[in-house]
């Protein structure tokens, strides 16, 4: 009983710390990396944050709100009552009358709930703010794997920012190694920054031969999509998934950002494609 009660109390008291990290993770996935790889170390962060939040709230309520806030009768925090409630022993100490908390809880349950909602909500917002600061590059010192942010920058940009990825695989035959390249679609990284797998759009494959004078890349690069270049009619575009077991290293190349000045630009592009494909259709039908 006492263990169960202690667990409940600890979880409730640590709510602000949990809320902070929930808020921190909310803006994007990359902010997860600010948390240490060890959950135990993060638990320490939760405890520290919760401690300071409760201490600050105690200071504000007992020295300000419950004394100098006459419009609303805010009750002060009775630390003796709180510590007795936290210790389940207080219910069953031998030789002492069991402490009863029902009257206190009935009287103050609204304020207790309001306190934890406010503490959790405000720390959650604070965590969200820190996450946004990290996302916008103001707290990059807290991050360990900055390349993740560089890659994700393109997704958040209004303009078209593509990243080309060149993947040297572990598939090899004698001195020849398979090489993949394509537009980086997304990837999954571990907390230590290593890539778990990456997904490439419009992938090509080629070979690299390791010679005494250095690596030599083959001139032929074969599209994996056999329908590459054909007018797109499929709903799902093909993509290549390469897992860490087959990745030796990856070279990321951010391409030039494509600026679309106006809607007319995309219309020009559509028109040019139509003209090209219509002329190629005519050429094909004429040859038959």
């Amino acid at each position: 009983m006492s263990i169960a009660w202690a667990t409940v109390v600890i979880v409730v008291l640590l709510l602000p710390g949990f809320a902070f990290f929930w808020g921190l993770y909310a803006p994007n996935q990359v902010t997860r990396e600010v948390s240490p790889a060890s959950p135990l170390a993060q638990l320490a962060g939760v405890v520290i944050i919760s401690f300071f939040v409760h201490a600050f709230a105690y200071l504000v309520i007992n020295t300000g709100l419950c004394v100098n806030f006459p419009p609303v009768a805010v009750p002060c925090v009775d630390f003796d009552e709180l510590s007795a409630l936290v210790r389940i022993d207080a219910f069953t100490l031998p030789g002492t009358a069991p402490a009863t908390f029902r009257a206190m809880l009935d009287l103050y349950i609204f304020w207790i709930l309001l306190y934890f909602l406010a503490a959790g909500g405000l720390t959650g917002l604070a965590g969200f703010g820190v996450g946004k600061l990290i996302e916008n590059g103001h707290l990059r010192g807290f991050t360990r794997h900055r390349y993740l942010f560089l890659l994700e920058k393109g997704r958040k940009s209004e303009e078209s920012e593509l990243v080309r990825a060149y993947v040297l695989s572990r598939t090899q035959n004698l001195n020849t190694v398979i090489f993949y390249d394509g537009i980086l679609q997304d990837f999954f990284a571990r907390a230590d920054g290593t890539i778990s797998y990456i997904v490439l759009h419009d992938a090509n494959t080629s070979a690299m031969e390791i010679t005494a004078s250095g690596p030599a890349h083959s001139k032929d690069s074969i599209p994996l999509d056999i329908e590459s270049g054909a007018p797109g009619v499929r709903g799902t575009k093909p993509f290549l998934v390469i897992t860490s077991e087959n990745i030796a290293n990856v070279y990321f190349e951010p391409l030039n950002t494509v600026r679309i000045e106006s809607e007319a630009d995309t219309e020009v592009l559509d028109k040019a494609i139509n003209e090209l494909e219509q002329s190629s259709d005519k050429t094909t039908s004429a040859s038959h």
Partner: protein, 79 residues
């Protein structure tokens, strides 16, 4: 959620960017090497769409008239 700190999922390619890239490849006659060559110009960080269209069309027409033996190099232009 608290213990989901071992993985970082980063989505890089936006859907509209993928559509634009596919259109540029179609404009290049299916040769993605042309698009990559145009978009990996080290002397600029960005390019407006009209310029990109013009450069792709120029490269496409140049390669169309080039000898067939040079065609495979198109796909590996930036490697």
């Amino acid at each position: 959620m608290f213990f989901e700190t071992f993985r970082i999922n980063v989505r890089v390619l936006k859907e509209k960017d993928r559509i634009l890239y596919d259109k540029l490849v179609r404009l290049a006659g299916g040769d993605s090497g042309i698009v990559i060559k145009v978009l990996s110009n080290p002397h600029r960080s960005s390019v407006d769409l009209k310029t990109a269209i013009r450069e792709i069309e120029e490269l496409r027409n140049t390669r169309k008239h080039a000898p067939a033996s040079l065609a495979p190099q198109a796909a590996t232009a930036t490697v």
